[in-house]
């Protein structure tokens, strides 16, 4: 199993560890709901170094990324980040990712440089996919093995990080980034991004810098009772926001239009994989949609449970489910036939022999003030 620079630290903290995407990762340190509430109320730190990072540089880097991703990368200025996906040729999704347009000092004149941040489970698949499309002579580097990633999330994240860095965090807009010194370590990339909905930052560093930064953040966060947060709470936090998880809610067979990712599918762009399929889906509509639902029952919906209408006809499948720590009820996401996608529609979730009542609900499930 692969490790991160912090694996020993997690074990030392008594974390429950498990394999995730080939990495030995912390699932929880205390309980998922305590960790969840800590992030919503104040601040928590995640080691998400399993994520993959590719650097793409060249005079046609923009053109290559424009062709392989669904969002419009031409909109990005150096210092901007963007959520996007890699559509395949069958109208599905190879992966979802973040695209960072790096500063011009990262490349020669007339060139553009980007960092793509991809899901750990898809690093090899994405690398091959992008490489296949690289007829532009763009230089590609997989820096995943040398790169660590911390997510500092929650309303007090800024108060913790500003003690440790010269980067102007107050000025940093959502989905932008800057580079600077963090905890004495140089050339650290800090972005105002995250997967929790509670605000905060993601911090990219070299492996050798990661323990120093983690320790400094844990020290600086003491006054906020900062806690390390595992992948368990990462999942409940993202699910309350209705954020998709690759492999659960989106995959090689699901369309971004069906998944509610139309906002990152810029079909007015000139060309990218499956653009005609997505244009047609926009025009003619899709047959299924990813929806959120609240349970009217105490049982928790799980991935692959069947969804039925109230007359017992199969209308879809659950893709994610959990007990929402904020709402204290079970919530889920799943694909249903469009006729049942309207908010307020009563549906049934099939759990073994039982049919559980649920109602289609607007996402995000939780409003963050």
């Amino acid at each position: 199993m692969k490790t991160t620079p912090l694996t020993e630290v997690h074990i030392g903290l008594g974390a429950k560890m498990a394999e995730f995407a080939g990495y030995n990762m912390p699932i929880s340190y205390s309980t998922i709901s305590d960790e969840h509430e800590q992030v919503r109320a104040s601040v928590g730190i995640f080691d998400v170094s399993h994520m993959g990072e590719f650097i793409l540089k060249g005079k046609d880097a923009t053109a290559l990324i424009q062709q392989v991703t669904s969002n419009d990368v031409s909109k990005l200025q150096p210092g901007d980040a963007q959520y996007s996906c890699l559509p395949n040729k069958e109208g599905g999704i190879v992966d979802d990712l973040l695209v960072y347009r790096l500063f011009e000092d990262a490349c020669a004149e007339g060139e553009q440089a980007y960092m793509l941040v991809v899901n750990a489970s898809n690093i090899l698949k994405d690398w091959k996919w992008i490489k296949e499309h690289n007829t532009y002579d763009v230089r590609m580097h997989d820096i995943s093995m040398f790169t660590g990633l911390l997510a500092l999330q929650g309303p007090d994240a800024i108060k913790v990080l500003e003690k440790l860095t010269t980067i102007d965090l107050a000025e940093m807009k959502y989905y932008t980034f800057n580079k600077g010194v963090v905890a004495g370590e140089e050339n650290i990339l800090v972005s105002a991004t995250g997967y929790t909905g509670s605000g905060g930052f993601e911090i990219y560093a070299r492996n050798s810098q990661l323990v120093t930064i983690w320790n400094a953040i844990m020290e600086a966060g003491k006054e906020f009772n900062i806690q390390p947060i595992g992948l368990g709470a990462r999942d409940t936090l993202r699910l309350e926001m209705g954020y998709c998880l690759y492999g659960n809610d989106i995959d090689d067979t699901t369309s971004p239009i069906e998944a509610g990712l139309g906002w990152i599918t810029k079909t007015k762009k000139e060309n990218f994989n499956s653009i005609e399929t997505f244009r047609a889906q926009r025009k003619e509509g899709v047959s299924q949609k990813l929806v959120g639902f609240k349970m009217e029952d105490r049982r928790v919906p799980r991935h692959d449970y069947i969804i039925e209408d109230v007359d017992g006809n199969e209308i879809g499948k659950v893709t994610s489910g959990t007990q929402s720590p904020t709402l204290d009820i079970p919530i889920g996401m799943g694909y249903v036939h469009v006729d049942f996608a309207k908010v307020g529609t009563a549906i049934k979730i099939v759990a073994g022999k039982k049919r559980l009542d649920a109602t289609i609900t607007k996402m995000p499930f939780v409003k963050i003030s």
Binding site: K16, V300, T322
Partner: protein, 129 residues
């Protein structure tokens, strides 16, 4: 991790405490640790007689769902009302006190000889440790 000596254990990580021809059943300390924080316990089989190895209920943790299996056959006499949503509704007792207040059901044993197939504490410890 604790493995009380006076209990018997099943491969499915249930424990049983026998008292005459009745018994209390719960899940082990190991099982609650693997499941994590429990949020709901469902037992709708009170009054039924269920065979060894069959499902008598379900527990929901934040991350996962798990069925509960009879370590031996018997009639379900009682569902711990401290756990039940019609009682105190505190499924977390299974996490905090799996062998005590976190007991799940009380049964009347169908066949005492079925107990012989279960593990003692040492054998169960060897299985999970």
């Amino acid at each position: 991790m604790s493995y009380p000596k006076e209990l018997k254990y099943s491969k499915e990580h249930e424990w049983i405490r026998v008292d005459g021809d009745e018994a209390y059943i719960g899940i082990t300390d190991f099982a609650q640790g693997e499941l994590g924080e429990l949020v709901y316990v469902e037992v709708e089989t009170v009054g039924e007689t269920i065979a060894e190895g069959e499902v008598f209920g379900t527990v929901e943790a934040v991350k996962t769902t798990s069925d509960l299996f009879m370590p031996v056959g018997g009639e379900i006499l009682e569902f711990n009302e401290k756990l039940s949503d019609s009682g105190d509704d505190e499924p977390g007792l299974i996490n905090s006190d799996p062998y005590g207040d976190g007991w799940i059901i009380k049964i009347k044993l169908s066949d005492l000889s079925e107990l012989d197939a279960l593990m003692d504490a040492a054998a169960y410890k060897a299985l999970v440790a």
